[in-house]
Amino acid sequence: MAHITMREAISQALWEEMERDPSVFILGEEVGVWGGSYAVTKGFYDHFGPERVRDTPIAEAGIVGGAIGAALVGQRPVAELMTINFAFAAMDHIVNEAAKLHYMFGGQFTLPLVIRTVGGGGRQLGATHSQTPDAIFAHFPGLKVVAPGTPADAKGLLKSAIRSNDPVLFIEHATMYQVRGDVPEGDYTTPIGESKIQRAGKDVTIVTYSKGLEISMKASDQLAKEGVEVEVVDLRSLRPLDMGPVLESFRKTNRAVVVEEGWKSFGVGAEIASRIYEAAFDYADAPVKRVAQDEVPLPYNRTLEQAALPQVDDVLAAVREVL
């Protein structure tokens, strides 16, 4: 086992896949010479060269469209959108082209592309640079959307995404790059579309992913001291969504809290809660509670921003409510 950061895990996955498969190449803004705005591709340019680590103009539609085209003709591009906030400028290519081309043409087109991007708030970057619109992308059949919460999952999922023949949106979190975790040595992949129990418990189920996992685990440690054993289910994939472990846990604990950084309205929690009620209504001893961001654009001021974002205390309060 290696004990590395999320950044290192993602970087390693990319590096190893590029070494392994010459059709894998990276394109995006500042990925090459700059080394990546989050330093994920630091060192890549010198090693792999400008053809395989391709700096692009500021042209998100061009980046994603370009990745689509390259994928169509047999390459495995890993496009980077500097932040998920900029993904909107490529919305058509992500949800209208990448998600649909394989289907619309009767399976003739294969799109083995990955779009890596970064979401989340908490760094006082203002409303347009701080969003977590994951649920929007997870809405579209034809696209796969993953968002790891641990370095081990990040490395395994990115490898799976790159090796997948489907378009995968790989969502990283801006404030989790330095999170450390154990990562298996050697080559391994983590399957896309599988949830994982990150912490076993019997009193209440927390369903979460990405940054939500971090605060949920902290809340669970606190709750354990009070004698409450929380079971934390990490979704890891938003589409395909694996409800198996979630429902199994819910049938055991009869109460659930969904923790996400996006907004509550029309968010991930709305989907999870619905599916819990559809499949396990008679096991519910309390309504499913959702912890999410306040329904406001995220402000610059630090206190206000932190107040709007879900914190450990919010998770604690929600768990206590359902107990």
Binding site: P57, V64, E97, H102, Y103, F105, G106
Partner: protein, 319 residues
């Protein structure tokens, strides 16, 4: 080109014309649904352009794609079956009029979001260049698409990276109901290439041989590694933007005037004048084309609908 090849160009244009006319009838009978954009009047563009390509050159276009499909070598049967939504269609009935494709014949669709396929075309060129293949991407689009951001991003990137893309603008004067001078800062699209320091040319899209010659030159220039090229072909669509277009934005006088320049008529005249073919031979080709289209309609009508299971097929490649 030899006589046979030249006659084949005529056949292709007439086939496309008959296909479109028959398609319009079927649409009005309610057998074709959704949107349908007819290529009538523009036949010389796809015919001349694609005749100039090598088989390994890729073609991608927007939604006015039936003629392009035929020129790429897809049978009238498959085109008609796709129009009727049958399982034997180019896209197994899942795409419809706007989304025909056949990767085996290097036809990459059939795209409905205006301008969105341009970055994809640029990407295909990127991918081919990455693999050191020596092919050209022929990307067709209307003049309306040159005003959307995707055009700028794609063309710019193709030039920055020196990619082998032939940008072909079919300037048929109208972007839906908006004439080019109302929508674009410059009405001659070839002019826009200057903004990218990209070579360009403007040719008469109603004359199939002019198109062929201009295309041949441009394709080879691109293949030679000179980077992207913008070829503007001026043309005109004799029918509306799509079925059901009441055409309030243009006068019928204008349409009639352009119909004098019917590409099929022009080429027919050329063949007769230069004694490449006689009236009888050309009439036979006309009849053959009509017959082919009828067989295509029969094929399509007799073909099965996709099964209900097909609804869930091909959402993902990996499942």
């Amino acid at each position: 080109m030899n006589k046979k090849e030249m006659l084949e160009l005529y056949h292709e244009m007439v086939l496309i014309r008959r296909l479109e006319e028959r398609g319009a009838e079927l649409y009005q009978q309610g057998k074709i649904g959704g949107f349908m954009h007819l290529y009538i009047g523009q036949e010389a563009v796809c015919t001349g352009l694609i005749a100039a390509r090598q088989p390994n050159d890729r073609v991608i276009t927007a939604y006015r794609d039936h003629g392009v499909a035929i020129s790429c070598g897809i049978s009238a049967n498959e085109v008609m079956a796709e129009l009727l939504g049958k399982a034997t269609g180019t896209s197994r009935g899942k795409g419809g009029s706007m989304h025909m494709a056949d990767t085996k014949r290097n036809f990459w669709g059939g795209h409905a979001i205006v301008g969105a396929h341009l970055p994809i075309a640029m990407g295909m060129a990127l991918g081919d260049a990455y693999a050191n293949r020596n092919n050209v991407i022929i990307c067709m689009f209307g003049e309306g698409a040159t005003n959307i951001g995707f055009f700028h991003e794609a063309v710019n990137m193709s030039k920055v990276w020196n990619l082998p893309v032939l940008w072909v603008c079919e300037n048929n004067v109208y972007g839906m109901g908006t004439a080019v001078e109302r929508a674009s800062a410059v009405s001659s699209i070839a002019t826009k290439a200057r903004g990218y320091d990209m070579p360009s040319e403007r040719a008469d899209g109603m004359d199939v041989l002019h198109v062929y010659q201009a295309a041949k030159k441009a394709i080879e220039a691109v293949r030679a590694g000179n980077g992207p090229f913008l070829l503007e072909l001026t043309t005109y669509r004799f029918r509306g933007h799509s079925m059901g277009d009441p055409e309030r934005y243009r006068k019928q006088d204008e349409v009639k005037k352009w119909e004098q320049s019917d590409p099929i008529g022009i080429y027919r005249g050329y063949l007769l004048e230069n004694k490449i073919a006689g009236v009888k031979a050309l009439d036979e080709v006309d009849d053959l084309a009509t017959h082919e289209v009828e067989k295509a309609v029969q094929f399509a009508e007799a073909s099965p609908e996709p099964t209900l299971e097909a609804l869930y097929e091909n959402v993902y490649a990996d499942g």
